[in-house]
Symmetry: C2
Subunit: 241 residues, 2 copies
DNA sequence: ACCTGAACACCGTTCAAGT
DNA sequence: ACCTGAACACCGTTCAAGT
């Protein structure tokens, strides 16, 4: 079919300007998933974006699953854990950074579930995170509580936000009206109350809920931390670390 | 190929014993997803389980997406919200029930993300949930906080659990050892400390973390609830409702 | 060593044809 | 009204062949 051979991708010297690498493959895959969603992410589409045939990818990655693993790792590489502030500030910043990544790359949420082999980046990140709490005097058990609770909350919040019926810009009140109209009016009286009282109010935005719950969890952890070691906590107020 | 026509699925009277319905299709789809995962869930596999051709399904459902929507709705139909107990007991039971559903049907977690059209069951469930808090005197804003925080936590916890590297029965300590051995030993000192101190301890089970974080969130909500209406809360201690 | 055409065994879905 | 065979335009992946 295609009788014309393009010379794109080749420099003046005749050598391939951009040789195919795992990094370039993952980069192209992320760009496609960001722009068109995971359903558009196929071996053929990734290859096409790189000006290559689908089968060439198999020279650099084992299969599509390997690409998905790398994509998650690459996305989370952007989450930095601040180490020069107190644990609460650091863990709060980390949670918000993870949330931003999941917002920017919604496909990462769906992929979290199926990826089971943490990359080097993920391991380093967790090491830094644990370090923040360890230096603040957290017991290993409390570190486990904090990691599980904070990550669960952020992941789950991102999931909820993605699965909302409509984009933020669209008319949520209108949808609420329509849904309510389709049912016996008194069957969903509480939902109607909630919609009228809250969801349909002018400034409503689900995203605003993120920090409320996050601070709820951080409050609880702080309380547990102080209860476990009140002496040292008081001592560290005046002095080092 | 298949020259033998079976008479299974037909009663003695010659009439189809189990006519194809949306309910039977969804039921079969759930059974397949539970047993073999979503990757085994195809129009052809669902049809085969019902002793029918793939194309017959289209007489009862619009497409595969419609089946997925129905599956999520059917799974969550099993979550009941107790209405004869105080709000905290009710919301705690609801959270644990949702968690149980997500554990029993791990495919539901992955589907949560993409399903955007709530069914009648989902709406009724939310109405009952809002009712529990409304009757306890929650403001609409606090109801929103509670719903977002609790659901985020439970969904996120289920996601984390599914994405754990290994099944509970397998040897997590062994994996931890292997991972640590593959890196420079001091590069992941905090992770090593955490693993030795906590993950590799005999009784370790990630599932145990669920209730800790759940109670953390419930504590925070209770505090907010009491702070917002201390007078009425005290009054309801002695008396009606 | 890296790239590729052709092919395989699958998908979801359409359509015209059967009863 | 409901079921179906054949076909379409896709998938991920293998393999033998090219350079």
């Amino acid at each position: 079919m295609a009788t014309v051979k393009t010379s794109r991708g080749r420099g003046r010297k005749g050598a391939p300007r951009e040789p195919l690498t795992v990094e370039r493959i993952v980069e192209a895959a992320i760009a496609i998933a960001d722009a068109e969603g995971t359903s558009a992410l196929t071996m053929r589409s990734v290859a096409a974006a790189l000006g290559v045939q689908a089968m060439s990818l198999y020279n650099h990655v084992a299969n599509k699953d390997a690409i998905l693993d790398r994509m998650v790792d690459a996305a989370f590489a952007r989450v930095v854990v601040p180490t020069d502030v107190d644990w609460r500030t650091a863990m709060r910043a980390r949670a918000l950074a993870i949330y931003e990544v999941l917002r920017a790359h919604p496909w990462a949420i769906g992929l979290l579930e199926s990826r089971r082999t943490p990359g080097a980046t993920t391991l380093t990140h967790h090491d830094a995170t644990i370090g923040v709490m360890r230096r603040a005097g957290f017991s290993a058990a409390l570190v486990a509580h904090a990691l599980a609770a904070l990550d669960a909350y952020v992941y789950g919040f991102a999931i909820q936000e993605v699965s909302l019926p409509l984009q933020p810009s669209e008319d949520i009140p209108a949808l609420a009206q329509e849904v309510l109209a389709s049912m016996p009016s008194d069957a969903l009286a509480n939902l109607a109350w909630f919609a009228a009282e809250h969801v349909m109010q002018p400034g409503y935005s689900f995203s605003d809920e993120l920090e409320y719950g996050l601070d709820l969890v951080l409050d609880g952890l702080e309380r547990a931390h102080l209860a476990a070691r009140p002496a040292r906590a008081a001592r560290s107020k005046r002095g080092r670390d």
